[in-house]
Symmetry: C2
Subunit: 165 residues, 2 copies
């Protein structure tokens, strides 16, 4: 059985005891989070959030890409979130390669050259990366300066968040 079929069976069980059908669309806690897609991060669990509490935006690295900005702008302007958190983590895969090497590997393996993605956003220092992501959000003219934007590193060995200042 494929993994997809297996998790669809899990979903049938989830739906049988589902009692959250009346949650409103805007997040209850008015919080939006940008975090890495990494499998070791279950964002709701590690922040003690319940279903319905927060918008959760995730991509490779927890990078504030154009797409993450798009999501944050929609989150705030259409759905009322008022605080943003950015979460990167130790042992991130994005620390283990360089964009140019990965592009070359993919070009070689597939005999194709590709327009998008233009960049893979690999990075070499976690704290510097978190600070840059905060800056990208804060400097966007469609994100009000009144919104707190705080950045964190999650330690995959301990389960703890440390703020990057």
């Amino acid at each position: 059985m494929s993994v997809t079929d297996d998790v669809l069976k899990n979903n049938q069980q989830y739906a049988r005891s589902f009692n959250l059908g009346n949650l409103p669309t805007p997040p209850a806690r008015k919080l939006a989070i940008v975090a890495c897609m990494d499998a070791r991060l279950t964002i709701e669990a590690l922040l003690g959030l319940k279903t319905g509490d927060a918008h959760i935006i995730r991509n490779a690295g927890g990078v504030v890409t154009e797409d993450a900005l798009r999501s944050l702008i929609i989150s705030h302007h259409l759905l009322g979130t008022q605080e943003f958190m950015i979460i990167n983590h130790t042992e991130c895969g994005m620390l283990t390669f360089q964009d140019a090497d990965l592009k070359e590997k993919l070009r070689h393996a597939t005999h194709t050259s590709v327009v998008a993605p233009e960049t893979f956003h690999a990075f070499s220092d976690l704290e510097t990366n978190v600070r840059e992501q905060i800056e990208k959000v804060k400097s966007h003219p469609w994100i009000p300066s009144s919104i707190p934007v705080r950045g964190f590193i999650y330690d995959v060995k301990t389960g703890s968040l440390t703020e990057v200042r």
Copy 2:
């Protein structure tokens, strides 16, 4: 207390009973999911996934943007995932506006014109949108055709996934 400070307290409690410090970087179930950032979707819970099982990529709408493709390519080529799922959902905020109107509202409210995001990816039909996202993944030359890419609509009233074929 800010919501951020409050969830940081929750994280201290999470870390105290944390026992997942030995998970490897590659997702145990070799699965990557693209889903909406909507607060009503707790992806791990609704699919019965454990911490460490799957890459979870989320944005406004669960759209296969350039950034989602970037994440899927890294997920497969660097971290070995072999199945992809795309999850949109009923009552999605992306069904409630049009890109041009939102841009005009933001320009008017902030007296700025902005280069990025270029588009907000609003859509008018869920099933059509899911099919388009599947197609975007399947047609990318850096995603092997051997990877199953299946798309679903999550019903926020019932907790159930329905496959879009």
